[in-house]
């Protein structure tokens, strides 16, 4: 069978114009599909950056909360109640809010301020400069070194600035797994200091972060929190909740879906039509092969191989092109939110397989119908 495959390969690649057109079609489709879905995945990851970076197993919040940045304060008794629940190993308050930083040159910059539990500092970031205990110092803040870091004038340990007209000083520089979606730098401080520096409504706890004693306690905790009128979700559920918000309540997901479908249709149109033309132009030759003694299943195998080979080559080229573009874009635009995941690659692969299957289906039908007698008749 390898000889027949080589024959199919030569018939395909030696027709350079058609093969190039086929590859361009599939490469372009894969590139667009992966690019669209990578942007979506990157944006979704950034939207959940705080949830990912803090690493808490469970989050307790007001049921109105849809995204991590959209906080609704909870009264202090919620924290006390949660701490007394069965199955809770520990629970800490968490604060997240926005503030304005006045830089040394007099300009203002919006920042996200994260207030960690004073006692445990649960969810603290990994420091690359400074010591974590310095966060308890006067006016102390830790700045995250992410793509937004230069917006604070590339501060270093000891840099002073104003946060909402209060003095602030950088005591550490940290790194996190994911930077945020909204393009603003992030400052970490203690929960109490965050309350002092930022204007607050009556209730100040944005979230209660919970560590259950075991995974079997999660459901029980959820039920107990619900009786308080609040919502408890796991880390993954919170990430899904945030993704669902952006997907279904902002139009962002729909736009991405439309673009992905369009990429698929463009790829299918170009590749399908070119492959069908390729088969049509070779139809007499397939008929001659049939007359000589090729069996129908061998011809089908040849066409499937040709479609599959083109699809996989185009898939590889499309992904390579996408990786190249994202890498170049990230060098120029550190904020560029695109992330290629196995899910993106899998989706593009499935779509390429569908393109190859549909393209070859019509070719196979045509080849199966050609009668060797038609070759004789001319």
């Amino acid at each position: 069978m390898t000889g027949i495959l080589k024959l199919a390969y030569k018939l395909l690649v030696n027709d350079k114009a058609k093969f190039t057109a086929l590859l361009v079609g599939i490469t372009f489709a894969v590139f667009l599909i992966v690019q669209m879905t990578a942007m979506f995945a990157g944006t979704m990851k950034r939207a959940s950056a705080t949830v990912i970076n803090l690493g808490a197993s469970m989050w307790i919040m007001d049921p109105a909360v849809q995204t991590v940045a959209q906080t609704t304060g909870m009264p202090d008794y919620v924290l006390d109640a949660v701490r007394s629940m069965q199955g809770v190993s520990y629970a800490v308050p968490f604060y997240s809010g926005g503030a304005l930083v006045k830089l040394a040159d007099g300009t203002f910059q919006s920042v996200t301020v994260i207030g960690l539990d004073d006692t445990s500092l649960f969810g603290r970031p990994q420091l690359i400069q400074g010591k974590i205990e310095d966060i308890y110092g006067e006016n102390a803040f830790i700045v995250v070194k992410d793509p937004e870091f230069p917006k604070l004038g590339n501060p270093h340990v000891g840099t002073e600035f104003q946060v909402n007209d209060h003095r602030g000083v950088i005591v550490g520089i940290a790194k996190v797994a994911s930077s945020g979606l909204f393009g603003v730098p992030t400052l970490y401080t203690t929960f109490e200091r965050a309350l002092q520096y930022l204007p607050n409504p009556r209730f100040t706890i944005a979230y209660v972060l919970v560590e259950p004693k075991s995974s079997s306690d999660v459901l029980h905790i959820k039920q107990q929190v619900q009786t308080l009128g609040y919502l408890a979700v796991t880390k993954d559920e919170f990430i899904d909740r945030i993704s669902n918000f952006y997907m279904y309540q902002t139009g962002f997901g729909t736009n991405m879906l439309i673009m992905t479908v369009m990429s698929f249709v463009v790829g299918l149109s170009i590749s399908g039509q070119t492959f069908y033309t390729f088969v049509l132009e070779n139809l007499e030759k397939f008929g001659a092969l049939k007359a000589i003694g090729a069996k129908s299943h061998e011809l089908v195998f040849m066409i499937l191989f040709q479609a599959g080979f083109t699809a996989l080559t185009g898939y590889g080229l499309g992904i390579g092109l996408c990786v190249l573009l994202i890498t170049l874009a990230k060098r120029r635009l550190p904020d560029y939110a695109a992330l290629i995941t196995y899910w993106n690659l899998g989706l593009a692969f499935v779509m390429v397989v569908v393109i190859a299957a549909i393209s070859s289906y019509f070719g196979v039908r045509k080849v199966l119908r050609i009668e060797p007698f038609d070759i004789f008749r001319g």
Partner: protein
């Protein structure tokens, strides 16, 4: 008496449906023997190509039988019939049907490749057959770089590559000038025909009649006469 290669009995073939239905073959019976170069001649539409197709296992007749070396080929399943064509029949099509994007040697190697021969070995063997038809030096060229006569010889090399016992040639001189056509058919008779091979040729060309061992004349789907060589 040479051995019987093909025996056709009462072959009938209809084309079309309803008012357009026409009978292409009417109770055609014939015997073809090994060592024969048998011409099938007749005006356009007389059923020559249809008969050739039925005899070579390409077109199923509506009734009648065709036996090749004792095997009723129209009782074979489609895969077995394909195998029969691959192993027993060599085709030289009127338009050659060479693959323009394969080299000459690769074109000749096709029956060997279909017969599961390793690619490299098939190309080496194909070069042998190209040598037989005098085109060894053209093995690497694509067919489009060859003249009409050379392409015809490549088609012949491909037809004999599977060492078939029966060779089918459909209008072998139709695309060639007179001298080349005569030379090609003369070459086939001298070098390809042997007492273990039967060659069937459909032709209109009177210039090659001298090479026929027997000529079957057709008209309106019937065999109307047989001659021992001579004028078409």
């Amino acid at each position: 008496m040479p051995d019987l290669a093909i025996k056709a009995t009462g072959v009938v073939k209809w084309f079309g449906e309803g008012e357009a239905k026409t009978q292409a073959l009417r109770e055609v019976s014939l015997d073809a023997y090994f060592g024969e170069m048998l011409y099938i001649v007749g005006p356009s539409g007389s059923g020559k190509t249809t008969l050739l197709s039925v005899l070579s296992g390409i077109l199923r007749p509506d009734s009648g039988s065709v036996t090749v070396e004792g095997t009723d080929i129209w009782n074979l399943g489609s895969d077995k019939l394909a195998d029969f064509r691959l192993h027993k029949i060599g085709f030289v099509f009127q338009d050659y049907h060479l693959f323009p994007r394969l080299s000459t040697a690769e074109n000749v190697a096709i029956p060997l490749i279909l017969n599961r021969k390793n690619w490299r070995a098939a190309i080496v063997e194909a070069t042998k057959y190209l040598d037989i038809v005098g085109l060894k030096g053209r093995a690497e060229l694509p067919p489009v770089k060859l003249s009409g006569g050379e392409q015809q010889r490549v088609a012949i090399a491909r037809a004999i590559a599977g060492q078939p016992e029966i060779m089918i040639m459909d209008e072998p001189t139709a695309s060639l000038d007179g001298d080349t056509g005569v030379a090609i058919v003369g070459f086939v008779k001298k070098n390809i025909l042997n007492d273990k091979r039967c060659i069937l040729i459909v032709t209109h060309d009177d210039r090659i009649s001298e090479f026929a061992t027997r000529i079957l004349k057709m008209q309106d789907g019937r065999l109307i006469g047989t001659e021992k060589g001579g004028s078409i």
